[in-house]
């Protein structure tokens, strides 16, 4: 299995899950009571400067459901028959959903999804090497940046931060803070220490799974997993 095939398979899977999730979310009758087009329209008109008809066509309540269906279908097709057109379609779906949610639907996981889709498109249209490097550098940098932010924050250094997210984590907060910081900062060694990528990958997946269990961050699990073939590519490049 090539790095590109593995990456496209994992990204398609992640996009399929998030598309179905979007459709399930819009089925909840209260969703459009909050995120209805009428409320969002003035902001979208101001930010995007598009004619009202175009805004309605792209961002109406019905359009969001249609986008969800297109995303699911494109992801299934991209999983079976990966090709650049399908990843352009997935990129557009992701962009429209993010725009409608005033920037992001799911914060960091949206950002990483764009990194992955951009990297895959670079790999298709430009150079595979640059596509993988773009994904790998962003993937590793996201861990390092999070580690640096935590080490600068007194709540994290003193082991209080996790408890502020959820009171049930308070007893574990002191015990877990420094291992989390060290894990994230150790990402810097992945490209330089031969053989370190695999153990770090296992730790990373355990870390994302615990994050999912504690905070419900399921999208982060799948999309960061999708970045790992590129990180292995970078590690292999360095050791050769």
């Amino acid at each position: 299995v090539s790095y590109l095939n593995l990456t496209t398979t994992l990204v398609s899977w992640a996009m399929f899950l998030s598309g179905v999730e979007l459709l399930l979310m819009t089925r909840d009758s209260t969703f459009f009571r909050v995120w209805n087009f009428k409320t969002l329209e003035p902001d979208l008109a101001h930010a995007l400067r598009l004619p009202p008809q175009v805004l309605k066509f792209l961002f109406s309540n019905k359009s969001l459901i249609v986008i969800g269906f297109i995303q699911v279908l494109s992801a299934i097709m991209a999983y079976k028959f990966p090709g650049p057109e399908l990843f352009i379609a997935l990129f557009i779906c992701q962009l429209l959903v993010s725009l409608r949610c005033r920037g992001t639907l799911n914060g960091g996981s949206d950002m990483m999804t764009f990194v992955l889709l951009t990297g895959v498109l670079i790999a298709y249209f430009g150079s595979q090497k640059f596509g993988f490097l773009y994904i790998a550098i962003n993937g590793l940098y996201s861990y390092i940046k999070a580690g640096v932010a935590k080490i600068k924050h007194p709540d994290w250094r003193e082991g209080k931060a996790l408890g502020t997210f959820s009171p049930s984590l308070m007893p574990w907060s002191k015990l877990l803070s420094w291992p989390v910081i060290l894990f994230e900062l150790l990402a810097v060694a992945v490209p330089f220490v031969p053989g370190f990528a695999w153990p770090y990958f296992i730790l990373a997946m355990i870390f994302h799974f615990i994050n999912f269990l504690l905070f419900g961050l399921n999208r982060f699990f799948w999309i960061w997993l999708s970045a790992w073939p590129s990180i292995f590519y970078l590690a292999r490049l360095q050791t050769h």
Partner: protein, 113 residues
């Protein structure tokens, strides 16, 4: 504060600056009659949510909205807060969650009157 073009496409730029934010999440209190009720952002995660977690994703979306609203409030004249789209979304969100409580209390109020 109105949404800007750059803000609306911020997910396209992998700056990872959200990691710099304070670890302490914002708290939203909703006033129902004279009681302030905390808006609950936590929900119980089950193993199958690893694949589909629409409720969890929506709660994360609402948390992001609350953070954006907090930013808007910092930069906005207090008189203009009710006109903010982020305020209207937060209001819809609070009413949507607590509408049963609000309606029950209204019924009790009407009956006692």
């Amino acid at each position: 504060m109105r949404l800007t073009f750059f803000n609306s496409i911020r997910a396209l730029f992998p700056v990872w600056s959200f990691f710099d934010r304070s670890s302490r999440p914002y708290e939203l209190l909703v006033k129902v009659d004279s009681t302030w009720i905390p808006y609950e952002f936590n929900h119980r995660t089950k193993t199958h949510h690893l694949f589909f977690n629409p409720r969890g994703v929506r709660l994360l979306l609402e948390q992001s909205l609350l953070e954006l609203f907090a930013q808007d409030v910092e930069e906005c004249d207090p008189a203009h807060i009710p006109k903010l789209v982020s305020f209207q979304l937060i209001s819809n969100m609070a009413e949507g969650r607590h509408w049963r409580v609000i309606r029950q209390r209204a019924v009790v109020h009407e009956e006692s009157a």
